[in-house]
């Protein structure tokens, strides 16, 4: 036991760490939404496209969901320059996380599509609903309900996953934590604060998502 905790010393670095947290959130946000678009296209392609398209998308999904995001980013960061494509660390991580998100969100959104049952569409047609009304009253609520919980969980997952950027010296939360710990040597304190900030970030995100879910989709979500 030769370690004396000095949390006070690190307190003055807190604003710097929190500044990094914003970048973490931005990274997660961008990857999530870009991934959601890819996922939507993927889910539509898999559901409505032909056999070939299905296979192509499936290969993409299976490959990215069965290999580590970190190694994928290594390929992007160290490999692409061989092809003459040089991406900044931030862009490399963003691209890697986005492709990952796209693969997972393809599967999640496809499950949402599949939750809409044919009988309900027929019922909507019998009631004389227009296409827009069918989407508005039948399809959208269904998809929202099925997707809400897995999407919320996935969003938390991507916030935590964005910490990988620290490995590539991106100055998000984990990257800045590494910086502070190597300049102050108060390693345990720095990473404890960092962990605390991640907990706060995800708790706030969960709480917001739960609120949105309750009001927009009438989903009863537990915040914890």
């Amino acid at each position: 036991m030769d370690y004396t905790f000095q949390f006070g010393v690190i307190a003055k670095h807190l604003p710097y760490l929190i500044g990094g947290a914003w970048l973490s959130l931005l990274l997660a946000f961008l990857a999530f939404w870009a991934g959601a678009v890819i996922g939507l296209l993927g889910a539509m392609g898999k559901t409505f496209g032909g056999r070939v398209l299905y296979r192509v998308i499936d290969v993409y999904v299976v490959f990215f969901t069965n290999t580590p995001a970190l190694v994928q980013i290594y390929v992007i960061f160290y490999g692409l320059p061989d092809l003459g494509i040089v991406l900044s660390p931030f862009n490399s991580v963003l691209l890697g996380l986005t492709l990952n998100c796209g693969a997972y969100l393809t599967e999640i959104q496809r499950a949402g599509f599949q939750s809409v049952r044919r009988e309900e569409l027929e019922a909507a047609e019998t009631l004389g609903m227009s296409l827009w009304q069918t989407v508005r009253y039948v399809i959208a609520p269904h998809i929202a309900k099925t997707l809400y919980a897995p999407l919320s969980n996935f969003y938390i997952w991507i916030v935590l996953g964005s910490s990988m950027a620290g490995i590539f010296a991106v100055e998000e939360l984990t990257g800045r934590a590494i910086n502070v710990s190597s300049s102050t040597f108060r390693t345990i304190e720095v990473f404890t604060y960092t962990a605390g900030i991640y907990v706060v970030l995800t708790v706030v995100a969960s709480a917001l998502l739960a609120l949105i879910g309750r009001h927009a989709f009438r989903v009863k979500a537990r915040i914890f």
Binding site: M1, D2, Y3, V62, F63, T65, N66, T67, P68, A69, L70, V71, Q72, Y74, V75, F77, Y78, G79, D82, L83, I156, L160, G161, S163, M164, G166, I167, T174, A177, I178, S181, T187, I188, F191, T192, T194, A195, Y198, V199, T202, V203, F224
Partner: protein
């Protein structure tokens, strides 16, 4: 680029290097298996502790809930650093493998306890009531009544979590554990092309993960359609 890779291949896939990669694959698998295996045991213990009743055990329950909520919200990478620096700071000598293992345990315990809890909650309240009214203790209730029914609910997500952790162990490379990602990085640093080294690495992860994913999906379907016994 293609010529470069073709040129490197004979030098890259030597007997020695191949063994190096296969051993690394073994380390990746060992980290996942031991880490999540221990995590399952501890996770079960947490669920057991969370089911205690009475005011006497309130601190135990609060601690368990706090543990589960906090450690599901800390990135694995950050936890790896915390374990590394804590053991170093207190002068405890732990191998890199040991550090990664501790971090995996800490996180998987939190996640798997939630999976087990959800499994228990899926068993109808009346099964617990009947057991209690017939004088079953907590251990007997779990052993004879709850576990035989709940394992079918618990196994598929727990298995999926194991398989997912195979990929997450890649972060242990940052601690210097000689697992797949670390070994690929070493070769890349020696000058082999990133497509070759990390490509091989991705392929090996895929070989580990994909069959297990498929097996897990089949398991889930089988258990979902099987009857309750």
């Amino acid at each position: 680029m293609i010529e470069r890779i073709v040129d490197e291949i004979p030098r890259f896939f030597t007997w020695y290097n191949t063994i190096f990669f296969l051993q690394a694959m073994g380390v990746t698998l060992a980290l996942t298996l031991i880490g999540c295996g221990l995590g399952s045991i501890f996770g079960f213990a947490l669920v057991y502790g969370r089911q205690t009743r009475g005011r006497l055990f309130t601190p135990v329950r609060v601690l368990i809930v706090g543990y589960v909520e906090i450690f599901r919200r800390i990135p694995f990478l950050v936890l790896l650093f915390i374990v590394l620096f804590t053991t170093e700071g207190f002068g405890v000598r732990v191998s890199f493998f040991g550090i990664a293992l501790i971090a995996i345990c800490v996180i998987s315990t939190a996640y798997i306890s939630e999976i087990i809890r959800a499994g228990f909650e899926a068993i109808h309240r009346n099964q617990w009531d009947a057991a209690e009214a017939m004088n079953f203790g907590r251990v007997a209730t779990l052993r004879y009544v709850i576990m035989p029914q709940a394992w079918k609910v618990i196994l598929p997500p727990a298995f999926a979590y194991f398989v997912m952790f195979i990929k997450d162990t890649a972060l242990a490379s940052q601690m210097g554990v000689l697992e797949l990602t670390r070994v690929a990085k070493i070769f890349n640093d020696r000058g082999y092309s990133a497509f070759l080294t990390f490509g091989t690495c991705l392929l090996l992860y895929f070989i580990l993960s994909y069959p297990l994913t498929r097996f897990g999906q089949r398991l889930e379907r089988r258990l979902a359609s099987s009857r309750n016994r």
